[in-house]
Point group: C2
Chain length 239, copies 2
């Protein structure tokens, strides 16, 4: 069969392409809109399979998925969050502290379940393809798995929120995670009433989306070329 | 308007949902199938916009995108790769060295362009929401941008390959990247003749996809619950 035919078998028509972009553009870091409804195992199985199909350095597949459903344990994790938030507020600029304290930054207890995605740093110790120069690549592979999970969840109507305000050493003790394994993401996962039209941190005045064209550089850092591309980007969007 | 109506405006029908999964499952780390064809700026603008809509800790948006088109510079990057590969081969287990050397692990010169995605670690210095406990979160946000780019590219029929076998200090010098900025991913990007049906490292016998159900844990690390979910996963797949 000629190469072109094989490519056509895999190609995305405009509807399918738009669906992928819609998942990317309407994905949200969900904190506020979880509803009290269980998540089907069939849906959860598909989301985990999406995560498992992430790229990984040297095909290492360093991830594990710890499902946390127990209410008491989730309240313990929430206590870790509350303590960490109190400490973090203190390092904010003075004029941001009040706004910071008013933000809802997690849905640990009210989501259907929590998922801790971990990275087993020892999984490819003998043959570290792609990791001898950049040993953090296994962490990055695990983040790719998180993003796959997040986008698939959006397409399933499932909200996901990443809680990064946690003392990870305390979380490791709580979930009995061994030394050679790193918790990368602690996610709140569940059905939602809605997906917000814009990121919460934009709506609440914490920050604005940066103009994309200002983030593009040409040939080297701060290189000023790519004028045509930048004009296209500025025309296309309120980015 | 009732909440349910709003949710419906955003919902994915089965065709749209399947398109998202297809992008996830058929994405490949492309090394071998780039064709000699330029990439339209209109397509590149969409891919960069997808990257820019990644989640970021504290809405930090720490990424920059350095486009590298110049042939001479790309040959210099390829020289960095070749030197790094030689050094990496030496740390492989003896019985894997020959296979390692036979693998094609980059398409730096033959792809349409290269893209270095960087992380500016100073961008939210004053108000590090979500970073005071886990300062590496900005690196992870940047990886989410890479994965968005990669999946959007798949839907556009554009191949992406992540080159991690590089001396990053040398790459920083070559691209004049300042100290406070970290190169996260060096990507080869371009039209392809085909997307391989399976990952190259599987086809070439470097590794196999791990059975997903063995990577799932319940309530704590190595916790043995979730039997129903694991059975569903085993039934659904050759995973």
């Amino acid at each position: 069969m000629p190469t072109n035919d094989r490519q056509d078998d895999n190609s995305f028509d405009s509807f399918a392409r738009d669906a992928v972009y819609r998942a990317i553009f309407t994905r949200r870091d969900v904190r506020s809109h979880f509803v009290d409804e269980p998540l089907d195992d069939a849906v959860l199985a598909r989301l985990l399979s999406a995560a498992h199909h992430a790229p990984s350095v040297g095909y290492m597949q360093p991830w594990n998925f710890i499902l946390v459903r127990d209410r008491e344990r989730r309240h313990q994790v929430r206590d870790l969050f509350l303590a960490a938030r109190t400490r973090e507020a203190e390092v904010m600029e003075a004029d941001k502290q009040e706004l910071y304290r008013s933000l809802k930054l997690e849905g640990i207890v009210e989501s259907a379940l929590n998922l801790c995605v971990t990275c087993d740093r020892a999984r490819s110790r003998a043959s570290p393809l792609g990791r001898s120069h950049n040993p953090e690549m296994d962490l990055f592979s695990t983040v790719c798995a998180v993003q796959n999970f997040w986008l698939a969840a959006r397409a399933e109507g499932v909200g996901v929120g990443w809680v990064s305000i946690l003392d990870m050493a305390a979380l490791k003790r709580l979930l009995a995670i061994p030394d050679h394994v790193v918790p990368i993401a602690y996610l709140c996962v569940g059905r939602v009433s809605t997906f917000a039209g814009r990121p919460d941190l934009e709506t609440k005045g914490w920050g604005k989306r940066l103009p994309l064209s200002t983030l593009i550089m040409s040939e080297s850092y701060a290189g000023a070329g790519e004028g045509g591309l930048k004009r296209l980007i500025d025309e296309a969007s309120g980015d």
